[in-house]
Each structure stands twice: as structure tokens, then as C-alpha cells.
């Protein structure tokens, strides 16, 4: 059976002439029905752009220059007039900021009922019933009352639940989440993650979850892709990647996070900064910041290579990472 979502060799470019650069380069992903993939990386690594390209909602100035996106075996156009129609009932997106994700002058119930009414063609009454059902399903307490509220009358967590309800209102099979928990405090974050987990199990939704937090991925996702400078540098099963990183960047991300089990261990930051997108380093783009890098790293054009069952890494020295990790 075809995977719920399959992205192959996606490439997105920004700018023109001398200011032209690739924000997403050769990204391939695959998510099964009921599966969840975490897409992790620091700000500016292209993870959100990847999602938006899949959704067909690239910001002005960005364009897809290569690659294909298939949903359940059907090709989704990446640009042009058929973009939105092709995604109806297939893909939906949840956004990061619950304060700007809802229309401030419309009651939230009406916003949830909108897609069932105009996209799925339900009657006004049934769309309303469907909206209440969705709100309840997303854990909005007292949906009857909340449906009549305006967004500013709801808390951040409830707003995020409403946004998920809106995303689900068009009956998608794939849910793209663009850091939906980043703007929330930790307890609410945990509830939203649990909700997404439930939805995934109950409805067989495929989820792509963009975040910069490995902790969140560890809770929700069964597979994990780490992006750096527009490319995937490591991909594999979440447990394995987190336990034994196959790329120094992944290890760097892990070390820079706070570990609840050993609170004494100080978070270690990754040295240096993400390079200017117009001046990409030669060879492996991570080599200027990498402690494992040798002279060969700045000349070899690194590619994702299999490094174990279902795991791939774009590091020439991934074997040395095990010892480095245990030493460090």
C-alpha cells in the first residue's frame, strides 16, 4: 500500500540572480497511515518551508524547483491553479501561533463549521453539529459554549485545540503540524501532544510534526528526520536516532537540550552559527561547526547513506560518533 505521504527530492528556492539560494534541497520523506514523522532542526533550516511546499502554500518569493509530493499514491501539484483543490480532504495544516491562527472577528464554532459546510457540502445544521463533534474530539471543554466564543475569549491551549479542530474539519488523511506547541507552556504542550497522539491512533491520521524540540519528537513521533541547511542530515526511527545519533549535528541538538534524568548535566551549545544562506560552505555544510570534521569533509559532497536498518546519515564519520558520544 502506498504511504500516506511521500515526498521525493523536493527542492525550494528563494530569490533571484545573486540573491538566489536553496532553502530546501533534495528532501525525501515518507509517512505511513497512522505514522508520525518528526522534522527537527534549528530556525532557518528549511523545515517549515518543506511543510509549506507540501501544503502548496509557499510564501511569496519562494518556488518549488524540483521534486514530487504524493498523498496516498496520488500526485499533488506543487504550484498552479490546482494546488488547493488537490489537497482538499487530503492534507491539512496546524499552525504555530494560536493568537494569529484564528479569525478574530468570527465565532470559533463558525470557523470550524466552515469547511464542512463549503468543502464537504454539509447542510448548515449538520455542519454545526460536525463542528461541535470536532471540538469535543479535540478536547475543547463545553464545546456548545466555546463554539459561541470569539478567539480572544479562549486560552492559548483551547485556541490551539480549536485550530486542530479546524484542520481536521476538512477530513484530511495527513496533518502537517508547524510547531503547534512552541507557543504554549509546558503543561498545555503535553496535552496537545497527547491529543495529537490520540487522533493519530483513533483516526489513522498521518502526522508530520515540525519542531525544534527533540523532546516533543520523542513523545509523539515514531520516525525522525533531522534537517540542517535545507537538507536532511539524518533520518531513522526516533528511539534509535535519539539513543545513538548518526550525525554530529543530531548529537549537538541532543546535548543542547535539558535532560530531565540528569539535571546536573549542563546543556552544551553547538559552536558557531548557521552559515549565511548565500554562502554555503563547500562539502558538508555542517563541517565548519563540527568537531569531527577532517579535511575531507570540506571537499566531499556528502549524501545520505544507509548506516543501519532503516537509518540513513549524511556524515562521513558516523562510526566515530559512537565513541565520541560515550567519551563526551
Amino acid at each position: 500500500m502506498a504511504p500516506a505521504l511521500e515526498v521525493t527530492e523536493l527542492a525550494v528556492e528563494f530569490g533571484d540572480g545573486a540573491g538566489r539560494f536553496r532553502a530546501v534541497d533534495d528532501v525525501s520523506l515518507s509517512v505511513a497511515d497512522g505514522g508520525a514523522l518528526g522534522l527537527v532542526g534549528e530556525s532557518g533550516c528549511g523545515k517549515s518551508i518543506t511543510l509549506r511546499a507540501v501544503m502548496g502554500l509557499l510564501p511569496t518569493g519562494a518556488r518549488v524547483v524540483g521534486g514530487r509530493v504524493l498523498a496516498g499514491g496520488t500526485e499533488l501539484p506543487l504550484a498552479g491553479s490546482g494546488v488547493r483543490a488537490a489537497r482538499r480532504r487530503r492534507v491539512a495544516m496546524v499552525f504555530q501561533d494560536p493568537s494569529s491562527g484564528l479569525n478574530p472577528v468570527m465565532r470559533v464554532g463558525a470557523q470550524v463549521a466552515e469547511a464542512p459546510r463549503s468543502v464537504l457540502g454539509l447542510s448548515r445544521r449538520r455542519a454545526r453539529a460536525r463542528a461541535l463533534e470536532l471540538l469535543a474530539m479535540c478536547g475543547v471543554p463545553d464545546p456548545e459554549r466555546r463554539a459561541r466564543a470569539y478567539p480572544h475569549q479562549l486560552s492559548g491551549g483551547t485556541r490551539q485545540r480549536v485550530m486542530i479542530a479546524i484542520a481536521l474539519s476538512s477530513d484530511p488523511r495527513i496533518l502537517l503540524c508547524d510547531e503547534p506547541t512552541t507557543a504554549l507552556d509546558v503543561t498545555i504542550q503535553a496535552q496537545i501532544l497527547r491529543l495529537l497522539h490520540d487522533l493519530r491512533e483513533r483516526m489513522g491520521l498521518a502526522i508530520v510534526f515540525v519542531t525544534h524540540s527533540l523532546a516533543v519528537v520523542g513523545e509523539l513521533c515514531d520516525s525522525l528526520a533531522v534537517m540542517y541547511a535545507g537538507r536532511i542530515v539524518e533520518i531513522g526511527a526516533t528511539r534509535q536516532v535519539l539513543d545513538r545519533p548518526g550525525h554530529p549535528y543530531t548529537l549537538g541538538l541532543l546535548r543542547s537540550a535539558v535532560d530531565l534524568d540528569s539535571p546536573v548535566a549542563e546543556p552544551v551549545s553547538i559552536p558557531g552559527l548557521l552559515h549565511d544562506p548565500l554562502h554555503r560552505p563547500s562539502g558538508c555544510p555542517f563541517h565548519p561547526r563540527c568537531w569531527l570534521a577532517g579535511p575531507e569533509c570540506s571537499v566531499t559532497d556528502v549524501q545520505l547513506e544507509a548506516i543501519g536498518a532503516g537509518r540513513r546519515s549524511a556524515c562521513l564519520h558516523h562510526e566515530r560518533l559512537g565513541e565520541a558520544a560515550s567519551r563526551g
Partner: protein, 292 residues
């Protein structure tokens, strides 16, 4: 490595119950809105009730009592033809206010819709609209209106057409700027990604979030249009005699400015009052319509 504890948490989110006061209550708490509405309502009521209030017809001449100062019989005096100024001022209000309010409706609706469409779609729609706007805006408003009325022919019809052709550009520009901001917001992207049609996104998501500025501007615009109508009347291109009109009253009275001051000044008072009232309403509406 345990990174985040999720299990065992089952706290219901704290839902902020902070309700916004209903629109009417907010409106009544704005002093300038209330004051403005009172002024506009008084002027409008007086104009509407003109036939009940006055004792003389607006065009009823009395050659034996021309140019008389205020008296018990003629509260605001009479003009050179012996017509009652109080009666004429009220009747002129009926014409001028109606023309002012009606003339802005088309520019408001058409300009706003075209503007949000331009901002939302971009591309050719935007380029064509905005270049047209640039061309029209390059001319001073009055010059264009006067020229158009002159071409179309003086009178109420000419005023409506001239205002309709020129005034929409202000709304279009304003709405486009707002739409440019709103269309980038997540909820619009979310609505689009949910598969809603362009028409629906424009109508339900963009328009309600851009309209408030246009509504506020309508109030000031009525004043501008009113002034334009009055100016046209003054120039003899506006509402044609014998229908009374504030502008032509001022114009007719100006030859007697040194001897009979009131004939020209009195029609100016309702213009000032209406302008003041509408400006106050606009001011109050800005506060009341401001999004939470």
C-alpha cells in the same frame, strides 16, 4: 534518556472567561461617538422634519420683506427675494445630506471590494487596479469632480456620477493595504489550506478584518463629499436653483456680505455642525471598532 514527561498530566486548560462588552455598550461608553451621533442626529432630524417645523416654503418669495434681519416672523431673517432663511437652511439640509450620504455608498462598496481583491490576489488584478488608482489620485479631488460634473452636466445626477468615478480610489488603496497584511496571517493561510474558495476567504475572512478602517473613513468622506457638493453649488455646478442648497445659499448671499452678513454665514453653520458631528463619530468608531 527521558526528555519530557507527558504521562500523568490531565489538567483541563484554564479557559479565560474575559468577555468583551457587547458592541452597543462599548459604543455608549465612547463620549466622542455619542456626542457626534447627537449632533448628526439633530441636524438630520431638523432637516427631515423641515416641512413640519417651518412656516414658509423654501421658495416662497416675499418681495416686500427682502433682506430683513432675524425677527419673530423670520427667525433667521430673509434673503434678497424675501425667502425665509431658516426654512431654506432646513430644506437645503434635506438635499445636501441625502446626496452626501448616498454618494459615498458606491465608492465605499466598490472601492473596498476591489481593494481587498487587489491585495489578496496580487498579480494582474493588483497592477491594473493600483495603476488606475494612481492615475485618478494624481489629480486633486475637487479639480476632477468639478471637471467631471462640468462634462456630465450640473445637477444631482452629475454629482453622483462624478463622486462614484473618483472617490472609490481612496477606499481601494486603504483596503488593499489592509488585505496585504491580513492575507499573510495564519488564519487566512489556514482557511486557504482547508480548501475554502477564494470568494469565501475574501468575504468571510479578509473583508470583516479590513472593513473597520473603511467604515471610519466613510464618516470623514461624507464630510468631504458634502463640502464638494457645497463647493459645486457655490460654483453653480451643483444642485440647481430653485432647490435650496447650502452652497448656493452662501454663494447667493455673498454680494450682501457687508450689509447682510447672516444670509451667507447661516448656511455655513449646519455644514460646520455636520462636519464636526461626523468627525466625532469617526473618532469614536475608531476606538469602538478596534479589534480586541
Amino acid at each position: 534518556m527521558r526528555l519530557l514527561a507527558v504521562s500523568g498530566l490531565d489538567v483541563q486548560p484554564d479557559v479565560a472567561a474575559g468577555r468583551r462588552r457587547p458592541f452597543v455598550r462599548r459604543a455608549f461608553s465612547s463620549r466622542s461617538l455619542l456626542a457626534g451621533l447627537c449632533i448628526v442626529a439633530s441636524v438630520t432630524t431638523l432637516a427631515a422634519l423641515a416641512p413640519v417645523i417651518v412656516r414658509y416654503g423654501p421658495n416662497q418669495q416675499n418681495p416686500f420683506h427682502g433682506m430683513e434681519g432675524p425677527s419673530a416672523a423670520h427667525w433667521l431673517g430673509t434673503d434678497e427675494l424675501g425667502r425665509d432663511v431658516w426654512s431654506r437652511v432646513l430644506y437645503a439640509g434635506r438635499t445636501d445630506l441625502v446626496v452626501g450620504f448616498l454618494a459615498v455608498l458606491f465608492p465605499f462598496g466598490f472601492g473596498t471590494l476591489l481593494g481587498i481583491a487587489a491585495g489578496y490576489f496580487g498579480g494582474v488584478v493588483e497592477t491594473v487596479t493600483m495603476r488606475l488608482v494612481d492615475v485618478i489620485i494624481a489629480f486633486p479631488f475637487y479639480v476632477l469632480v468639478v471637471a467631471l460634473v462640468f462634462i456630465i452636466g450640473p445637477g444631482i445626477r452629475g454629482i453622483y456620477i462624478a463622486i462614484a468615478l473618483t472617490d472609490w480610489v481612496v477606499y481601494a488603496r486603504m483596503a488593499r493595504t489592509q488585505a496585504l497584511v491580513v492575507r499573510e496571517l495564519d488564519w487566512v493561510t489556514a482557511a486557504r489550506s482547508g480548501g475554502l474558495s477564494h470568494a469565501r476567504v475574501l468575504w468571510r475572512h479578509i473583508l470583516p478584518n479590513t472593513i473597520s478602517q473603511a467604515i471610519v473613513y466613510v464618516m470623514s468622506d461624507i464630510v468631504y463629499v458634502l463640502l464638494a457638493v457645497v463647493t459645486l453649488g457655490y460654483l453653480g455646478l451643483g444642485i440647481q436653483p430653485p432647490t435650496p442648497d447650502w452652497g448656493s445659499m452662501i454663494s447667493d448671499g455673498q454680494s450682501f456680505l457687508s450689509t447682510n452678513l447672516w444670509i451667507s454665514t447661516i448656511p455655513g453653520i449646519p455644514i460646520v455642525l455636520t462636519g464636526l458631528g461626523l468627525s466625532l463619530v469617526a473618532d469614536g468608531l475608531t476606538d469602538v471598532l478596534r479589534p480586541p
